[in-house]
């Protein structure tokens, strides 16, 4: 017997140039679980106007830590898409 697919809501945050491209600082994105950062990026690029201009493989963070695109995410996690870092 198949288990029903679980879904989760990810809080996605945009900064600097990416925030300008999508015209917003954050969005809630629904994904089927299990999911990865890469899945979230794909959903964002499909769903949000302007988000195609974000690279397919952007720098990302999950819950305030740098994360690779294959890192898993769960319901309620915060995923941030980070333009090239230019601090200091």
């Amino acid at each position: 017997m198949e288990r029903p697919a679980l879904s989760g809501t990810i809080r996605v945050r945009f900064f600097a140039r990416y925030a300008e491209l999508v015209g917003r600082a954050e969005a809630a994105v629904a994904v089927s679980l299990p999911a990865t950062v890469g899945d979230v990026v794909r959903r964002v690029r499909e769903q949000l106007p302007g988000a195609r201009a974000i690279p397919e493989r952007p720098l990302a963070a999950v819950n305030l830590h740098h994360a690779k695109l294959d890192a898993s995410v769960g319901d309620g996690d915060e995923v941030a898409l980070l333009p090239p870092i230019a601090g200091g």
Partner: protein
């Protein structure tokens, strides 16, 4: 205390937080907004950040300094908002019993900031144009070089 400020950075305050009778050498790094030959008339830079993550990442970097250089004391302040040419965007102060460690710890912090700390800058020019700075050509961070999210 926050690692971030929107006011001008006061170096003496940072120096006071690390000073200790056991530390004979202190190394400071100041990053200042530049208008050099590569910048073409920059008048100011607007700094923005993923502020909660900056606090976490800088806290981790400071902890790493304490693990690598025993006895070293470090303070960091990054300024956000509009910073005019010539003013400091970041100040790092590292004190240690011996000067080699002070230099190494200070250098470590600025290199890790450039690599890991989510801050962005938009250059503002006298002609009204604005450019997001993408430090391409310089080594940029790749997700595979960074600690993995667990």
């Amino acid at each position: 205390m926050s690692y971030l400020t929107r006011a001008p950075i006061i170096l003496d305050e940072l120096l006071a937080t690390v000073s200790s009778p056991e530390c004979g050498g202190t190394c400071v790094f100041l990053g200042t907004v530049r208008d050099g030959p590569d910048e073409h008339g920059v008048t100011a830079i607007e700094y923005s950040a993923y502020e909660e993550m900056v606090e976490g990442e800088l806290g981790r970097i400071v902890t790493e300094v304490g693990e690598r250089w025993s006895g070293a004391r470090v303070a960091v302040r990054h300024r956000l908002g509009l910073i005019p040419v010539g003013e400091a965007s970041i100040a790092i102060v590292a004190a240690a019993p011996h000067r080699a460690h002070a230099f190494e710890a200070c250098r470590y912090v600025i290199e890790e900031v450039k690599r890991r700390v989510p801050v962005w800058k938009k250059e503002l020019r006298a002609d009204g144009s604005e450019t997001w700075v993408d430090p391409s050509g310089r080594p940029t961070v790749r997700p595979s070089d960074l600690p993995t999210h667990v």
